[in-house]
Symmetry: C2
Subunit: 279 residues, 2 copies
């Protein structure tokens, strides 16, 4: 079987090139540099790789999905820029570098986040493919990024529901906050590949399981770093470490099963990767 990193190499390189060429015609020119900063300073690019892998599982090629893959990464990056700001998490370092607001000021960071979100939709709407498919992608991304998805989860995480003390509510929070973009990444790859309804349903269930497995793994990893009772609610706090790990492993199995007969070795590896982080 092809190692995940061998598969990811050329795809990640193409994505990096695509992202680095955005905002080159900005006015003021210096604002283009500011907007490229969070886009081009790393990360594992999990969401765009999921998008490309889903397209590849359906169509056998990945190149046609580079545009939705870039759009989903832009939305992820915008959410990080805004999340890092002093009025949110107040983080000054990300991936070993100053966060956008530390480097360029809070006002410019706010605009950079706004610009990354806006440009993701412009990217999907420029002349490129079939209008019906492109409009479907806009609908998927705006639903996943908005109050039905990521923003709803963030609002719950900021305390809009008060303290969260049950697994069902915490699961719903994370299906929005982190799960929605992961599901959207996989669905956009499949939609660009013109997957039929049955395949799209299977991939959607796969993505739901993977998204939650990633979050459970994150909670276990975070617990190792910080055993305190403060901070946001977590599955480890509600379920304990052992049960959280067990559920993550079960979700990875569910994810693989959701793929059914689909020949998708990379998606299967990505599902296992999501829980190997926990053990």
């Amino acid at each position: 079987m092809q190692p995940l990193e061998t598969w990811a190499g050329p795809r990640r390189a193409a994505l990096e090139t695509f992202l680095a060429e955005l905002f080159m015609d900005a006015w003021p020119e210096v604002f283009g540099e500011m907007a490229r900063y969070p886009l081009t300073t790393g990360g594992k690019r999990i969401r765009p790789l999921l998008c490309l892998a889903a397209h590849e599982a359906v169509a056998g090629t990945w190149e046609p999905a580079i545009r939705p893959a870039a759009a989903i990464e832009m939305v992820h990056c915008y959410s990080l820029v805004h999340d890092d700001m002093p009025c949110m998490d107040d983080d000054s370092v990300r991936r070993g570098l100053p966060t956008t607001h530390v480097k360029y000021g809070d006002d410019m960071a706010l605009l950079v986040g706004d610009a990354l979100l806006t440009e993701a939709f412009r990217l999907l709407s420029r002349p490129w493919g079939d209008a019906t498919m492109q409009l479907h992608l806009v609908r998927e991304l705006s639903t996943a990024a908005g109050y039905h998805g990521m923003i709803g989860g963030q609002a719950a995480d900021l305390g809009a529901l008060g303290d969260i003390t049950d697994v069902e509510t915490l699961t719903r929070l994370h299906r929005g906050k982190t799960g929605a973009l992961i599901r959207c990444a996989v669905r956009m790859g499949a939609i660009t590949a013109r997957a039929d309804g049955r395949v799209l349903d299977g991939l959607t269930r796969y993505a739901n399981h993977v998204g939650l497995a990633f979050q459970l793994a994150d909670d276990v990893l975070d617990e190792e770093q910080d055993a305190g009772d403060d901070g946001p609610p977590s599955f480890v706090k509600l379920l304990g470490r052992e049960e959280t790990t067990r559920r993550a492993q079960a979700l990875a199995v569910d994810a693989e099963e959701a793929l059914g007969e689909l020949e998708a070795p990379i998606l299967r590896q990505l599902a296992r990767f999501s829980v190997e982080r926990t053990i």
Copy 2:
């Protein structure tokens, strides 16, 4: 001739109803209330009225343009929520009410702004009309709201270009910061009405003139309130009050001329309204 306010009444009422029904299915529910707050607390609704008037000038009806009209107002409201935040203009009152961040906190205000922007694109992408036309609207709105338009102008206004000392640069700033959404409002109304290229070009020139006339009028009004040398660059500072007023009047004439043979009494009134504010 029908007075502007008689024309505007039922159209503004339909828009208010449309906006008040957004975010009703939000989770967390309280986040829906937060997002409706800046949307439903007033303003003159100039941009959506321009959108409806442009549609009416082309097609004789305004109802089919209510959706793009609402989308442009959502983008305008998001920009106000973010602009009012402490890291930007730090305004605590708007239209006699506490600004969103004063009422709900800076973190929620940031998310509310993000949600209004995202939802504008979801509104345009939901099943509603012809996919090619809808995708065109997404492209228009994302271009006008992004770094080619409003955000580019805001970045210049925040000092990305250093001090602005010439009329050409200030004009370019305002063609982005305030002009882009006004142009987009008119164009979206015309595109929804399937205006042909010649009519769309005329309406675009009309909107460019009106947008700049509005800004010149604003600068004259602001100068009356505050004669100081501090604050942002303005046309009055660079040109003087008399020349700024003269140019605004000339732009209103240009705007009417750009309409050519188009029977558009409301658009003509709106052009005159834009400069009557200066004299």
